[in-house]
Amino acid sequence: MDYIDYYKILGVEKTATPEQIKSAYRKMARKYHPDVNAKDPEAQKKFQQVNEANEVLSDPDKRKKYDQYGADWKHAEQYEKARQQQGSGSNPYGYNSGEDSFTYEDGGDFSDFFQSFFGGGSQRANGRQRQYRGQDYNSELHINLSDAYTTHQQILNIGSKQVRITIPAGIENGQTIRLRGYGADGVNNGPKGDLYLTFIINNNTPFNRIGDDLELTVNMDLYTAVLGGEVMVETMNGKVKLKVPPGTQNGVKTRLKGKGFPVYKKEGTFGDLYVTYQVLLPTHLTDKQKELFEELKNLSLKN
């Protein structure tokens, strides 16, 4: 755990006045606040640092303690305990000031440095009351591509509760859905917050998913390619037999209409499956086979 220079984070001098700190903080907050940044994890991180710096420097008691111990902060708690035992402690570092209190959606993590210095994150009681609707939660859900093929239900553990959610077929990797009312409880009878669930899809199938279409490469022996025949092709819902015309070239693509991925929230609509044939040439020929290929070659040359 490293020492954090809160002055540096806000870009102010150690001698900065409360007004200068407030103004520096607002400037930084306009740049990094999650409400003016569209899902930018970097900005979110920066904002947490800025918020934490403000939390300390805008509070006279916290700022005093921070200044007092400085780089020697590791011993701060010990000094403090010793002082309190001498009878002079009256909780000098309570959280009781500040007009600007940001709440941010993930519940607001403070750094280890902050926590070891000031205890847990602050719950300011007398700042502007911003809470009515409950906080929103953000979470990730990892699912397999094969599961994303059908609309299905999944049980999630949200806090201590188990919640059954429906995942519509055709959800895309990285897509976020909002589950209304699955966030934190509201305050003063306010509505509950929402849960924003981002899906991370792991491809556990042989298919490549391109939007609503799927791609698959199918191997075929030389004889089927030359003479025509049938190949078995895997699809998301079982194998199908495909007729291969004689003289099928390597790399030829064929489209299986409606055998692709379901279109999100358009029940019964599917993309297509594109099958690319890869012709495998025979290797390790026997003498007899070699002889026959020579014969074929001579015949072809004559024509």
Partner: protein, 94 residues
């Protein structure tokens, strides 16, 4: 209109400690959608997320209504571009 799913402008002012004029200005600029019932105006619970964001922008970031209008529009554009980017990225990564 189901009362439980709406919050009156007055209640908004109490819960969020903001002036009525601010909420009225948001409505006038088309930033929040209000429903009128009798003499009172209401905001659907569904739109409270937006309202809260505007309150933060105004009271904590010192952005005026016109600024909020621009920021909101740009954020919406960014969001739709991010979605497009995600789709394109998924195509490339497969």
């Amino acid at each position: 209109m189901e009362k439980a799913l709406y919050l009156s402008f007055e209640e908004c002012c109490v819960h969020y400690q903001v002036e009525a004029t601010f909420i009225e200005a948001l409505e006038a600029h088309g930033l929040v959608e209000a429903q009128t019932m009798g003499q009172q105006k209401f905001i659907a619970h569904d739109h409270l997320t937006d309202l809260e964001r505007f309150i933060t922008m105004h009271y904590e970031l010192d952005i005026n209504i016109e600024g909020i209008e621009v920021v909101s529009r740009l954020l919406r554009q960014m969001e739709s571009m991010q979605n497009e980017l995600r789709s394109l990225r998924n195509r490339l990564e497969e």
